[in-house]
Amino acid sequence: MAHREVLAEPGSRVVMLGNVAFARGALEYGVSFASAYPGTPSTEITEALSYASRILGGPYVEWSANEKVALEAAIGAALTGIPALASMKHVGVNVAADPLFSSAYMGVEGALVIVSADDPGMWSSQNEQDNRWYGIHAYIPVVEPAGPQEAKTAIIEAFKLSEKWKHPVILRTTTRVSHTRVIVEAGEIDIAKIKRKGTFVKNPEKYTLVPVHARRLREELVEKWEKISKDLSQNQVLNHAEGNPDSETLVVAIGLGYRYAKEILATHGLLDNVRLLKLSAPVPLPKSLLLNEAEGREKIIFIEEGDPVIETLSKALFYDHDIRAKIYGKGTGHLKKTGELELHRVEKLLAKALGLEKTYYNQSVIKPEIKLPPRPPVLCPGCPYRAVFYALRRAVGKARIRPIYNGDIGCYSLGVNPPFQMQDTIVEMGGSIGLANGMAHAQDDKVPIAIIGDSTFFHAGLPGLANAVYNRSPMLVVVLDNRTTAMTGHQPHPGIGVTARGVEGTELSIVDAAKGLGVEYVKVIDAFNIAEGEKEFYEAIEYVKKERKPALIVAKGACILLALAAGRRVGVYPVAYRVNDDKCTACGLCYKAFNCPAIYSKDDGKAYINELLCTGCGECAQICPFDAFEPVDEVPPEWLRLMREAKPS
């Protein structure tokens, strides 16, 4: 998506997603380099910068192969003296953790901000991980905006902090900051600044972390950390106290927690009664500010999204300084540790701590008695993965193996649901091939099937595959090549040949990569061709059984949403299918075993196609044993080509 509002006129007030406000703030500061790997809830930051770069001719923006490379590239850019930004989701920081820790030792020349988009509540993630711990662990300051309202200001402050201390800074956002729209006032963008290039000045004592250098840098780092803590105590833009200075109660509201605290205190008319400490730069702990504000209070309440990070650090600090106030927070069990903050939960905490009798947000909840069916996300109508799962399952049956499906991160994770249930493990990016390596050697006579997407293959699949070839791990690797990073909204990747700036890149071949790594059995199939898939999967499984070596099949077919979008651009549209009632026997194969969301069962059990949802993929016509599906019109060959070759623009 373009997110055009990122280039709103200076001085105008516009509705912006938190992530777009981050992008705007980075541009207003003058970011000259931005790298990222897509991941919810971080993606729109780089999408917006990509749009800006296409219009303004800067900054340099790239979708990197993975988060580690994205961060390394940003470190490299920052060492040349320009401001750089690396954006990723919380688990992406795990992938980038190695350079992250080193970057604190080296520092930077220009500025370096690393966006970590955490996902409390796990709306689109495998875990709930609070990356402020990384800041503490790696000695990297953390800026955490007080809601989307402060997103733009906070990222500008993060850059300033990085520039001032020549040190990387983590900007920690969360789903409700990144994916919440608020009104933002646009400032000036200096185009010359965002287009500027840097110059690397050699300084091996700083930039080569051999032990003799690292030992000295470690001493300097620990010393710098205390200085930054003092600085953050003085930073009035990010950290300040408001309300009654003489109150017996201090509410420490960190990041988005400030918005919850402020709304509840305002609703209860308590804004002038208690002391409210807003912390938008909580790491390193601004010790002198905290001690100043905590001194003499009877109660101290902590409100933070994620783990009780600041509460835990503060309690240790209070212990050292003989502050013995009663503490309320997640660490003391007054607020639930899991999931997201919500007004009623925070109100309950405040009501308990402050002895409030009336509550506004804890209303009685009405739950209708009717039993509702769940609605989990599903593979879209026309998704090539549905055809692949179907073909693979038939091949596995024919080969008479008891399969283990090592799944991965992407739309195909949805194969975990009925009717396919063909994801036995889902761990992390690239984990499919990695786990299959272990499954292959830890059991006798098994053929693990690793299922991995195209973008994920380039992200973290390559080392696992090298390992499988080297150690002769008998496994079938199925690369689902739908020509895009689909789940996060259709970003390009190394296999596409289009870059984030819209200029041509080099298109890498998955087949050549696999062959280059030494996989001897490599084939490409048409993902939409179920008969071909079944035959090729069967033969590949037989090869693995016999040779005890890895085989790899690339199932190529565009994400149907991408094909539809490409079609709209050139005026090519799919032709929907319909059911021939005379031929349909009501067997239910199409809506039960194949489970296309565009196919329903009628009262008599016969199939019926919702033409509004049908994408004309023709998969149903291939699986129906009675030839009951037919296109309502002649299918344009151009559409069949787009289904196979469409790619992101």
Binding site: Y260, E340, E347, I366, P368, P374, R375, P377, V378
Partner: protein, 197 residues
Amino acid sequence: MKSLNIVLSGVGGQGIISLANVIANAVLESGGNVIVAETHGLSQRGGSVIVHVRIGDVEAPLIPPGNGDLMLSLDPIEAARYSVYLKKGSMIFVDNNITPPPLPGIKIPSLDEIVESLEKEGFDIIVVPAVDEAKKAGNPLGANIFLLGASYQTSILKEYIKEEAIIDAIRKNLKKPEKNIEVFKRGKKWAEERLTS
């Protein structure tokens, strides 16, 4: 402290986020404050969608359960699912078409069953033929805007958003703006006729 909490619900792909964006821009045009919390990523693939729209003296992104003032929904099942976010007696404007979740062998409740169940809890349900009317107007994707038109006429939305601001927000933020303005007006007219009959 004056605020309006609107729950938008439906199925991924129905235009719930676009609707939220039009409302938010209309609030901006009307000189108010607005916060819209959305769901992206995994949850949008044909899954159940809720968007929280908060207008007025508000700071935090999410509507707590039992605090919503109004719901616009493009699917009756999703309207019922997220009714826990509403105050007793709230108005629910819901399209009459059910999109059945594509799960093998599940029981789908009927529109009548859902409406009855919600009315029993004291909600004020207005079933709107938004998809059908938008199709008739030659704009099958305009159901979200028809629903906005229908609800604008009869709900507290009017106190927070000016009609010209909605027209302006549609013009600035949607593709085929004239067609969508037409659909908005038809929605308003539909509600007017329903009220007076």
